[in-house]
Amino acid sequence: MNLEHRSAARFKPQAAEALQDDNLKRALAKAKDGFVLKRLQAVSNLNEFESIRTEARRIKDHVLKHLDYYLEEFERKVIATGGHVHWAETAEQACNVVQDIIGGEGKQVLKGKSMVSEEMGLNAALEQRGHTVVETDLGEYIIQLAHEPPSHIIAPAVHKTRDQISDLFHQEHPKYGLHKRLTEVPDLVSEARQVLRDKFINSDVGITGANFLIAETGSTVIVTNEGNGDLSQILPNVHIVTASIEKVVPTLNDASTLLRLLARSATGQEMSSYTTFSTGAKRTDDQDGPEEFHVILLDNGRSKVLGSDFQDILRCIKCGACLNHCPVYGAIGGHAYGWVYPGPMGSVLTPLIIGLENALDLPQACSLNGRCGQVCPMSIPLPDLLRRHRFKAFQQGLIDSRTKYGLTAWALMVKRPRLYHALTSVLTRVLALMGKSKGSLRAVPFASGWTSARDLPVPQGQTFQQLWAKRK
C-alpha cells in the first residue's frame, strides 16, 4: 500500500490491497487472539465491571455536558501549578504552537505515543523545521523506522510480523553497531532500548499525549507499558502534552474509575505497567522534571460534535477494544482506513473530523454485527452511530447511484405486496431453473458481488407464499 498517499477516500483499493498481504494476515491473526482472550479474562475477573462501566459513562456524559467549564477549570489549575495551556482549533494551529514552544531549528524531540499528534501531522511538521523526532514507544519506534503511520490506536506496529521487524532492525540498525540479525522478541526489545537510551539523555523537548486531563488538579495522565512516557517527559527541559479537548475529567477519582476500564479493555491488564501523572513544571524542591510544562488542547472539529447526534463518540477512551473485536479490522488492518483512527471508533470519528464526503466508505464498510458496541467499555453505540452516518450520507445524496436505484426499485416492490409476490415467484422460478440439479450457482448475472466470494444457493423452486396458498 502506498502509505504516503493513502486516504479515507481510497478505502476500497486500500482494503483490496490489504487483503492480499499475507504478512498482515499473519500479524493480525496473532494479535487478535491475544487481545480478545486477555480482555475477556480481565473483564470476567472483575465482578463490578458492568457497574464501573455505568459509572464511567455517567462521568463522561457529565463532562461533555459541561465541557467548557471543566476545560477552563483544568486551564486554571495548570497555570496555578506553573504550566501553560494553549488552545488550538485546528491541527495546523496546534503544530504552530509546538513549533513556537520549541523554537529554533535542529532540536532533538522525544515523543511518547500520541494519536493526537498523528492527527496533527506533528512529526512531519517538526522534521520540516529540521528537528529530529525520536519516537520512544517501541511500536512507534518500529513504524518510524519503517516510515509508516500507526495501524492501531494502542499497538501502532501490530500489522508487522516478528520477521518483518527483525528485517527492519537488520537493515536500519547497522549505524548503531548492530550487525547480526536478531530474531527473538527480547533481543529486539533490548536493541531498541539500547538505542533509545542515549537519545533520552540528549533531547531538548519531550512530547507526550494524554489519556486523561484532570480538571481538579491540572494533571495530565498517560499510561504505558514500557515507561518510555515517563522518561520522555522527565528528562528534557520542556514537556509538551498534546491532547484533544474531550480528554478532560473532573477529578482524580474519576480518572481512576476510567483507568480501571482502560487497561482491561485494551490489553487485558488490570493496570498498565506505568501510569504517570504530570502536574505542572518542576518545583524548586523537586529532584527532576521539566522546567517548562505546556498543554495543547486540540479541538479539530470535536466541539461541533458536542450536542450533535454523534456526541457519544466523544466518550471514547481510545482503548482499542472495538478494533480488536472488529472482523473488518481483523481482515484489513488499520492502514486501509486511510486516516489516523481505524476500526469502528475511527469509522465513526474520521468522517466527523475530515468530513463525511471524504470518508464515505468508512461507515458503510461494516456488517453491523455489533461486537464493537458490545465490548466498548464506554458503552458507545458504535453500530448506531455508523448507521447515523449512513442516514446523513443518504440525505445528502452522497451514496453511489447503483445503491440509490437499487433501493428505489426495492422500495417500489416491497410497498406493493401483490406486485412483490408476482415478481418474487418469477425470480425464484428463474433461479431454480438456472440451478436445476446443481444446488448452487457459481455465477449469476448482476450478482457478481455475491458470487465473487461464494456460490449462490438455488431457491427450492416456489416461494413460501405460493406454496402456502396452495396448501390451504
Binding site: A16, A331, S367, G370, A393, D455, V458, L467
Partner: protein
C-alpha cells in the same frame, strides 16, 4: 395472556422473512409445524414482504419507515408474531421504535408490535416451552448470528432446544459469535472483506469436523453455504427450525437434490 390455556387459543402470525419466502420455504413450513405442535393456530398474512432492513441499513430512513408502517399494520391485530430470524425480529423489536422516535402515534404502534414479536427459538423456549420430538443423528455446529445474539440475546435458546433432539451432538466451533461476513448489503458491497470473514467462518467449522452447520438466520446460512460450496467443503447447512421440526430430511441449503 400468559396462562397456558389462553395461549392455546392464541393466533400466531408468521413473519416469514423475505429470504425464507424466496430461497427456502421449508424453513417457513418447519416454523409453522413447530408452532402448531405447541398448540398455536398459525396465520400467514399475504401482505407481508420485507422488514425494511435493506433501506434502514443503507440510510434510507423514509423508505424504511414506509415499510415499517406496512409491517406494523399487517401484524397489529395478532397475539404473537414469530419469525425464523433474529435479524428481522431485531429490526422490528429494536429498530422500529427507534425509527419512529419523533412520532408519538407510530412510536406507540411500533412499541406494541415490538412487545409481541419473537424470534422462533426464543418463542419456542420461553413462550411455548416446547418439548422437541425430532431426531437427527448427526453432529452439528451452531453459528450465532449477530443480530439475534447481540440485539436479542439469543445464545442458549437454540442450544437448549437442540439438546432435546435425539441423536444430535453439538460440537461448538471457535468464534461461533463472530460475524460470518453476511451483513445484508455489506456482503455484496465489500465482497473481498466479506469473503475473508466467511472463509474464516468456514475454516472454524471445518476444525470441528461437524457434519452439519446450523443457525437461526437464513441470510448467514446462504452466505456460509455458498462459501462452503465454493471451497468444496462437505458440511451441510440447515436452519435450526428444520432440524427441530424434523424436516431436515431434504438436501441442505445449496445442496443439489439427489
Amino acid at each position: 395472556m400468559t396462562a397456558a390455556n389462553d395461549e392455546a387459543k392464541s393466533t400466531v402470525a408468521l413473519l416469514v422473512t423475505c429470504l425464507v419466502d424466496l430461497f427456502r420455504p421449508n424453513i417457513g413450513f418447519a416454523t409453522v409445524k413447530l408452532m402448531q405442535q405447541a398448540g398455536f393456530t398459525v396465520d400467514v398474512p399475504t401482505a407481508q414482504t420485507c422488514c425494511g432492513q435493506p433501506a434502514y441499513n443503507s440510510g434510507d430512513q423514509a423508505s424504511a419507515q414506509a415499510v415499517a408502517k406496512q409491517v406494523i399494520e399487517t401484524f397489529a391485530h395478532y397475539d404473537y408474531v414469530v419469525a425464523p430470524s433474529g435479524s428481522c425480529i431485531g429490526m422490528v423489536k429494536v429498530h422500529y421504535p427507534e425509527l419512529f422516535a419523533g412520532d408519538a402515534e407510530w412510536r406507540g404502534k411500533a412499541d406494541d408490535l415490538a412487545g409481541k414479536c419473537y424470534e422462533l427459538t426464543t418463542f419456542l423456549s420461553s413462550v411455548c416451552k416446547l418439548e422437541v420430538t425430532a431426531s437427527f443423528s448427526r453432529s452439528v455446529t451452531y453459528h450465532d448470528s449477530c443480530s439475534g445474539l447481540r440485539e436479542l440475546g439469543i445464545k442458549s435458546q437454540p442450544r437448549a432446544l437442540l439438546e432435546q433432539v435425539k441423536g444430535l451432538t453439538l460440537k461448538e466451533m471457535e468464534d461461533s459469535e463472530v460475524c460470518c461476513g453476511f451483513g445484508g448489503t455489506f456482503c455484496v458491497k465489500y465482497p473481498g472483506i466479506s469473503e475473508r470473514m466467511v472463509s474464516d467462518k468456514v475454516g472454524n467449522v471445518k476444525k470441528t469436523h461437524a457434519e452439519v452447520i446450523l443457525g437461526g438466520d437464513l441470510g448467514c446460512l446462504l452466505n456460509i453455504a455458498g462459501r462452503n460450496k465454493r471451497e468444496g467443503a462437505s458440511a451441510e447447512v440447515f436452519h435450526v427450525a428444520e432440524v427441530l421440526a424434523g424436516m431436515a430430511d431434504i438436501p441442505g441449503i445449496g445442496e443439489k437434490s439427489t
